[in-house]
Symmetry: C2
């Protein structure tokens, strides 16, 4: 399900990601778009804070799964955010990984080619109730099939509480408790 | 000798390093030192090319050892460069790791406190002869002891070919063949 990365590979992928960000800053500075370069730096810092927040939930395998997702070839780009309190979610870690894996696979099965598709994964942590929101934006083929898959994930503590879709977006929320 | 990093830790350290670099760029942009910011970006790109070059020598464990060295607490900062041809040095990988480990330990034993100490490690690759240069700059206590240690590393294919020292610098070169 999840690739085992070695240090050498992690360093290589990470360097590649960061150099891409650096090129964006460099490109804007070269065009004298100083304000845009500053904005990009702020965006990177905000995203890094999200990574740090995710890393503070005592769920290192889940963190690794999410942060390395885009290094494998997928038909969409995964973005994520963590909203709410920071607390220890280690009790739910295995099930959260399973849920993310199943749902991303189900979504990918409904996407026919790589394009500017995005999946925003939001981890909402309130009062020891975890909500996991999958917000997919892009072209997909069958929302009915997707809903059925989501309703039948058969992960003990996870329940689909919301499923909404439009022509180019599917938003589904799971409650994990 | 070498710590086994997991993906979670590598991501955390790597993020920390890159955010430090980003802060340097951000700070200079805030002071309107645009040219300095551009220079820093160029320096980072050059260093990243060195990392990529090191990564291309088919010696992933050596690469990992060097690139993660500064994540452990040491009394000096390790910098490195790779000069010359890029070829497969896997036959010498284990001995090179051993040599770097032994020599950095020997140097560290002669440094009494952390300060602005630097060790530049240069890997020179010419005609299938590897030269490894340890250029330490900083305060150290006993060059004689260091020389004796270097002369007696007892690694089969490594021979000390040069040892020079001044008050605040020690340069030693090993030939590995």
């Amino acid at each position: 399900m999840s690739k085992n990365w070695n240090t050498f590979e992690v360093l290589r992928h990470s360097r590649h990601d960061w150099l891409n960000r650096l090129q964006l800053i460099k490109g804007n500075l070269a065009l004298d778009h100083i304000d845009r370069a500053k904005e990009i730096i702020e965006e990177i810092i905000i995203q890094s804070r999200q990574e740090a927040k995710l890393s503070n939930l005592n769920a290192p395998k889940l963190t690794e799964y999410i942060l390395t997702f885009n290094w494998c070839n997928h038909l969409f780009q995964l973005d994520f955010e963590v909203i709410g309190d920071e607390y220890d979610i280690s009790n739910y870690e295995a099930e959260l990984i399973e849920l993310v894996a199943r749902c991303t696979e189900a979504i990918e099965a409904q996407v026919s080619y790589p394009a500017d598709h995005h999946l925003l994964l939001t981890l909402q942590l309130y009062h020891e109730e975890i909500h996991l929101v999958f917000d997919f934006q892009g072209e997909y083929s069958n929302s009915h099939k997707l809903k059925t898959e989501f309703e039948n994930v058969e992960i003990n503590s996870a329940h689909l509480t919301r499923f909404e879709h439009s022509e180019d977006e599917v938003v589904s929320t799971f409650l994990i408790k």
